[in-house]
């Protein structure tokens, strides 16, 4: 046992060192493309950190979003940036030279002070604090699920998740109102991307369904399932998936608001029957949560893929 603890301790130190140096490299490397690639690596290592902190639910979400979707969003933005103005990179590096030494050193000193202050505050906290664990444990029997994280997300603090669905919708609405119309990309001629897509997308959809179902008893749930579905959507968009215009109007909008809609209807009905927002009757809690999660998964997946497109989707006219 001791040898294992020692090895894990060494692993912790190595992981901390790697994450920290990657974060520094993301900030300091000159090339933006390299910075984004390093950021994706940073996200993958963060997923490992979550595993070490016994947070497999977060590790799943981080691996799909932090390492995957955020990187894809940044890459797409960088690509569009170069097509908007190619001489832009030169302008940025020319301007960096004007930055004086003091304007680099002073923030560094201030930040070292912040780290020291926060570190002192952190180390002076009590070693053991139970937080809300006892409350969660006490009410688990009535939650309708066995995974405590899902119980918190969909039951005890269900209104957080409701508002989060609205936040996602608002972000997409803002992107749509700023981004204008964007045509779906033309069919990719890359044979590797095409065959990868044909194999991966069904697997991703299956994984997403599994995560959604298993979320009641084990790590998983609507957010992880939704992000995997979103990743499948991004892959389809990249390979030039053809969707007819009629499906991009009402059917797409219906899926996008499905999550928030079902949530709000459920909350309103329960408010009238039970007298409390999202207070499920104990016997029915299980399937009600599954229903909410299924709707949320579809909406999250569609919203993330639509965010990647960065504008109101418009079907391209095929030959």
């Amino acid at each position: 046992m001791e040898a294992l603890d020692f090895a894990l301790g060494l692993f912790d130190i190595l992981l901390v060192f790697l994450v920290l140096s990657l974060a520094w490299l993301v900030m300091s490397s000159e090339d933006l493309f390299r910075a984004i690639v390093l950021f994706v690596a940073f996200g993958l290592l963060m997923a490992l950190v979550w595993v070490r902190l016994e947070a497999p639910d977060i590790a799943l979400a981080e691996a799909a979003i932090g390492a995957g979707l955020t990187g894809a969003l940044m890459m797409a933005a960088l690509d569009r940036l170069s097509s908007v103005k190619p001489i832009q990179k030169v302008a940025a590096s020319a301007q960096r030279k004007q930055l004086s030494l003091s304007s680099k050193v002073l923030p560094l000193i201030a930040l070292v002070l912040i780290v020291l202050g926060l570190g002192y505050a952190l180390l002076s906290l009590p070693e053991i604090a139970d937080g809300l664990t006892p409350n969660v444990k006490e009410n688990m029997a009535q939650s309708g699920v066995k995974n405590p994280v899902t119980a918190v997300l969909l039951n005890f603090r269900g209104y957080d998740t409701l508002l989060e669905m609205v936040v996602l919708l608002l972000a997409l609405l803002s992107v749509w109102s700023l981004g204008g119309e964007r045509k779906l990309s033309p069919r990719s001629t890359n044979p590797i991307l095409g065959s990868l897509c044909r194999v991966l997308v069904p697997v991703l959809i299956l994984v997403s369904c599994y995560l959604l179902w298993v979320g009641a008893d084990a790590p998983g749930g609507a957010f992880q399932a939704g992000s995997v579905l979103g990743a499948a959507g991004v892959l389809l968009l990249l390979s030039g998936w053809h969707v007819e215009q009629k499906y991009l109007l009402w059917p797409l909008r219906f899926i996008l608001i499905l999550g928030s809609g079902v949530f709000i209807i459920m909350a309103a009905v329960l408010l009238l029957i039970q007298g409390g927002l999202l207070t499920y009757p104990v016997a029915q809690a299980g399937w009600m949560i599954l229903l909410l999660e299924s709707a949320a998964t579809l909406s999250i997946g569609a919203t993330l893929a639509a965010l990647f497109l960065g504008g109101v989707p418009k079907s391209r006219v095929d030959q």
């Binding site: 974060a23 940073f42 950190v49 070490r52 304007s103 664990t133 936040v167 996602l168």
Partner: protein, 104 residues
């Protein structure tokens, strides 16, 4: 010092590295990357502190909050990137300028 504390300290260091990048680097894409790193630091600190519970399992409430936070962060990032592209379209530069007269 136990391992949750090491990760909590890593969290505040990541936050500061991100904050440093946010202040010093000019390119807006870099600033968005910096905000994401700051967010990761905050999430890390939250979860690491939730692991101090005496029981076998860590506190699930910070876990749920962080999962929510990660999804909000990615949607905010998408919005920020769209705003950046809009700014580049309008001003021709992906760098924020101090005074209006600097605008080319």
């Amino acid at each position: 010092m136990n391992s949750p504390m090491i990760y909590a300290l890593l969290g505040i260091t990541l936050f500061s590295v991100g904050l440093y990048g946010l202040i010093v680097r000019e390119h807006l894409l870099r600033k968005i990357l910096a905000l994401n790193i700051m967010g990761s630091g905050i999430f890390l600190m939250l979860v690491a502190l939730g692991k101090r519970s005496a029981g076998e399992l860590p506190d699930p409430v910070p876990h749920a909050m962080v999962i929510t936070g990660i999804v909000v962060a990615v949607s905010a990032t998408a919005l920020a990137l769209t705003l950046m592209l809009k700014l580049v379209e309008a001003s021709g530069s992906a760098v924020l300028h101090d005074a209006p007269k600097d605008r080319s």
